[in-house]
Symmetry: C2
């Protein structure tokens, strides 16, 4: 076994999920994540944690969902009971075919998802962490050779997280103290209020309210957005390609939109509900191990020198107690590159210029 797989497992168990002896851990194993699962099982054994592995197979899911009539039982008790009692859930992504559920009717998928709200909530109440094992299918999605993709994944994942947490703390401090953010780059001049909001130092650990490995971003919940933004990073949203999305905001609401590709998807997202036309998140990517777009949001939004904005739901961690953030059924991230000539300002002070933070 590649020594990096073992290091990935140790990082996940120790740094990210903070597993301790006696913890009840569910490990969700994707079809292609077997090797990482073996390494995680070994490290959970070393830590004296309990292990229950579930098989998270896209092919099983597709077969089940297509055969079912769509009247799903709400939150089956045996599964709910398991997640309610679990301390941690480790989600080991490792798709063997990113189009593996492409022919499941979306109503069926939505009905299933809707019937499992309590199970989802129970899982979100654990110390859950989602991570990615490199597979050939994910390499293909990224347009990369397999070995090159493995290097990419481990460069992004096996960071000095403590050092990055310290670096990110500087940005969090500026955002927590600041009232307005301005983002200027090609096709973008956007201002938003972050007054009273708390930024999350997302350092790939539940100890930092961060549930992704890799992470490497600082995010907050903006409001009152004004101006224009162009998202130049291509993405796949709901299985469809989206490129060069332009949004115009007035008083926090999207009043105009366009896209080079996938405009219909953006239109659908915006039409979901009122909250879908407002921003729920401003995220600033700070992971320099993510050095290219791989069409995987887990990595893309963490890329150093990018900023992402999400239409829809805001995270509670960014809001003062008792304040409700933007609410929506969606949370759709869109990413823009902060290249030459770009500026990120907090209360008029330049924090990042040409994609480099002032402390870099």
């Amino acid at each position: 076994m590649d020594e990096r797989v073992r290091e990935h497992a140790r990082t996940l168990v120790d740094w990210s999920a903070r597993i301790e002896a006696g913890d009840d851990v569910v490990v969700q194993v994707d079809e292609g994540a077997h090797d990482l699962a073996v390494a995680v099982a070994a490290h959970l054994g070393t830590r004296g944690a309990n292990l229950l592995s579930t098989y998270s197979s896209a092919e099983l899911r597709r077969a089940y969902l297509r055969a079912h009539d769509g009247a799903f039982d709400a939150d089956p008790e045996y599964e709910l009971a398991m997640y309610e009692r679990a301390d941690s859930v480790l989600i080991l992504k490792g798709s063997t075919n990113t189009a593996g559920t492409a022919d499941v009717p979306s109503e069926r998928r939505q009905a299933h998802s809707k019937a499992r709200r309590a199970i989802r909530e129970a899982r979100l109440h654990t110390d859950w962490v989602s991570t990615q094992h490199p597979t050939r299918a994910m390499a293909q999605q990224a347009g990369m050779a397999y070995e090159a993709y493995e290097d990419f994944v481990y460069d992004a994942t096996l960071r000095d997280w403590e050092a990055l947490a310290e670096e990110q703390a500087q940005l969090k401090e500026l955002l927590d103290a600041g009232d307005t953010v301005r983002i200027v780059t090609d096709g973008t001049d956007l201002t938003m209020s972050i007054e009273g909001r708390t930024a999350v130092n997302s350092a790939a650990s539940v100890a930092y309210d961060s549930h992704n490995l890799p992470s490497g971003e600082v995010f907050t919940a903006p409001e009152g957005t004004e101006g224009v933004v162009t998202f130049d990073v291509p993405m796949t949203i709901q299985g469809r390609r989206v490129r060069d999305v332009e949004l115009t905001f007035e008083d926090g609401v999207v009043v105009d939109f366009a896209a080079e590709q996938g405009e219909a998807v953006i239109e659908e997202v915006l039409a979901t509900d009122d909250g879908a036309r407002r921003l729920g998140e401003l995220g600033i990517g700070m992971n320099r191990g993510v050095d290219r777009v791989t069409d995987n949001i887990l990595f893309d939004e963490k890329m150093g020198g990018t900023v992402h904005l999400a239409l829809g739901r805001a995270y509670d961690a960014c809001l003062p107690d008792g304040v409700a953030g933007n609410d929506s059924a969606v949370h759709e991230d869109l990413i823009t590159t902060m290249g030459a000539g770009s500026r990120l300002e907090v209360d008029g002070d330049v924090v990042q210029e040409d994609g480099k933070f002032r402390w870099e």
Copy 2:
């Protein structure tokens, strides 16, 4: 997908486990049982049952058990809660390496098993069924080419179970009415009492108290065994080869033993506890689809024209209410072929001769 995989799934879900809409079903998927799991998922969807798939990987288990210090938590609550609430557990065996846990110290394995008694009991209280998906590793264990092994598995599994249940009912009737059984074959002349005992018509369905697919046997709980038996079918017990075991019984207890190969294993089994020196089961194989020994007890003991006897624990289903059968920590099956010159008698009447039942 091989149409036989789908038929296997339908047989498992409908005939064996009797799954109905709304049932909470745990599907335990071995590393090599993916294709069967997909077919089972589809058929569970068709039936409107709920699906939770667990990953039953020998490699994960080995990694976890070897790394753990051996002081296992007793019956972790999250896993216990899941099995306590489950209606059915479908165990899809499909090993990719039958020696996959060979280097786990047996004390570690035993400590883990001991710590999970309540979980095991909860699982045994569901409508559980264990079945086998053909893999290359299992073909190798059987000494067979893969395609030939596939044919073997499906010939044994995709039977007319209703017809076999009817045939087996004839033998059950004779055993239920009878008081003594005598088995005569090469190196064997054994008598035992079955007075007051109830035979199980094991027809591969929970509706018949039968939890194996394939099944195809009638079994009961004997006592007071007298005589000599030679088990000519070679087996693997606790990872070691055993061949031509000879046991001598007096008043129900083994008083002498020998084996061409693996005598030490037999000695260890007999030394487990008092019950290990008495018989817990007399089983009569009636599945004519199992036409050869494949070193897999799920199939071997069902073979038409064989008889098996188990040292150790008796099954409650064979005993009158309130009567305790033979108790032991072990239940070790040994098999003898009923070939030319063999006789199976109930109360002196010949029921089977030269391996053929009198109704065949």
